[in-house]
Amino acid sequence: MATQADASVDERIRTETITTRLMKRPELGAIGGVILVTIFFFFTASPAMFTLAGIMNFMTPAAQLGILGIAAALLMIGGEFDLSIGSMVAFAGMIFGVLVVNLGLPLILAIPLTMAFAAMVGAVNGAIVIRTGLPSFIVTLAFLFILRGASLVGLKMFTGGATQLRGVRDAVAGDWLTPLFSGHAFGGLFRWMAEQGWVATLASGTPTVPGIPVSILWFIAVTLVATFVLLRTPAGNWIFATGGDRHAASNSGVPVRRVKISLFMLTACAAALVAIITVIDTGSTDARRGFMKEFEAIIAAVIGGCLLTGGYGSAIGAFFGAIIFGMVTIGLTYTTFDQDWFQVFLGGMLLLAVVFNNAIRKRVTGER
């Protein structure tokens, strides 16, 4: 009487196309926004924006934001926030600067020490959140202030009164690790391409794009690793579970505390990485580095489809979220719009991009 089901062909499932399957993935939702923003600037911005040089130009800030955004995304998927990462950029920058300039340590020591400092602060954040059961929003907010203040005090102490510590570029100039954290990669390739005439050159004959800024490579690497961890490792499963419902996760045997503390340490280390890259790149650090970056990181993660309530999101989404944010902030300078309207456009474009993402995904998955 009942229709016996065959496992392979279930009459309770409609067939769906590959596009539909792909678009269902949270990772890919944010692509719609990138496309929309690209089209918008394609018609409104100066063509310089989409030359190789122009792309590198907006990708560099996007990459620095993105590294933070992906870490923030992992933490948000795990159900917590870290509002202290912006201040951590300043703090870790200060530590790093002092280590290489004042103490003259080589990078091979300075970088691990900086990371260790950051991880320790992250662990403290996490431990307080777990011990007290307070929302991480308020705990890390306290550290937002504390670390920002500590950077100022520290900088003044080590420079004898200024808020800027400089001389980093000279201090690391000869270090064999420097090329990993600053400058451009594949310089030879680009020079060769310039000689072939494939890449535009400056008047002096050097290519307009001397290579791919290493921060972009770090950005891509972080995205790939984070995606792999989230989707293909037990740790990823634990992160989703912890953020989805910490009691259910804990009852099922997920080591919720360990997951959360690790995530806090991870975001702090991501902030330290950004600090190291920017400090070496600019050659200096100051007390206002990373100001408001905590919010931009959360914005990137949310544009990329992370839920603020935890348990849902993706690293690739945050990747595209950071690119959207970077494109919009830098892109408007390429247009002829009155720059007073900058924030209005920024807000409008962000809204459009996420609404568009959302509309496409709903249409494709047939929700509602």
Binding site: A53, K156, D286, M292, D340
Partner: protein, 285 residues
Amino acid sequence: QNIIVVAHGQANDPFWSVVKNGAAMAGEHTGATVDFRAPEIFDMVAMGQLIEAAVNQQPDGIVVSIPDADALGPSIRRAVEAGIPVISMNAGADVAAEMGALLHVGQSEFDAGVTAGERLAEMGGTKAICVNQEVGNVSLDQRCAGFAEGFGNPVQVIPTQNDPTEVQSRVRAALESDPEVDTVLGLGASLVGEPAVAAVEALGRDDVLIASFDLSAGFLEAVSDGRAAFAIDQQQYLQGYLPVVFLALHAEYGLMPGGDVPSGPNLVTQDAAGLVIDLSAQGIR
């Protein structure tokens, strides 16, 4: 003696940290206790409340900056009413006297902007961008407005956030999208001036004039190398130092100079830059 300084710029702002250093040094020199207070963000409402808090403590003198006379007027008048001597600094030269301040130490942001504009126009600038890292902060807006007036040629204001990487990208974008732009004025040396120099270098252009308000060691280096035109120095150390000294002397001997003290503007150009780099790195200039 006890002297309270209420400023509208934060202690971690490179410009204001110099003011604060000046005030602290004056405290050391005169033996007065100096407290430096500022709201955490440019916020006139909060600043008014800080002045009120200062009045409540009945100090021997209050030093204030007055970026918005309407908003801060009542609080300053209350200080005067309470018999506390007030000296204004940095912003508010035009209104200081009518508020009851004894004198003003500083320089009008607008005038400084005009000076910079005139100088850059003289040096051959024809089209400029004014990079403002905090649009809506009235003193910064005035710098751009003064610059536009002094420059006489088209000026575009580029708003940015507090991030050197972003500033560099945006300056570069502005230069690329409009190749006619040949002048860049930054409103802060470390946050805008240095990245602007980097952006221009990355573009391989050597015809762009770069100037910046305030000093930073890195930017001064660029000036002394000839990569940047000049830095506009208000000698804001004086804005912190002098009022405190005046108030201390006033409290002790009843002394007070007879008029306002202009602390700037002072353009730091290639020949002078090398001399001030070290002072700047110590937070004195």
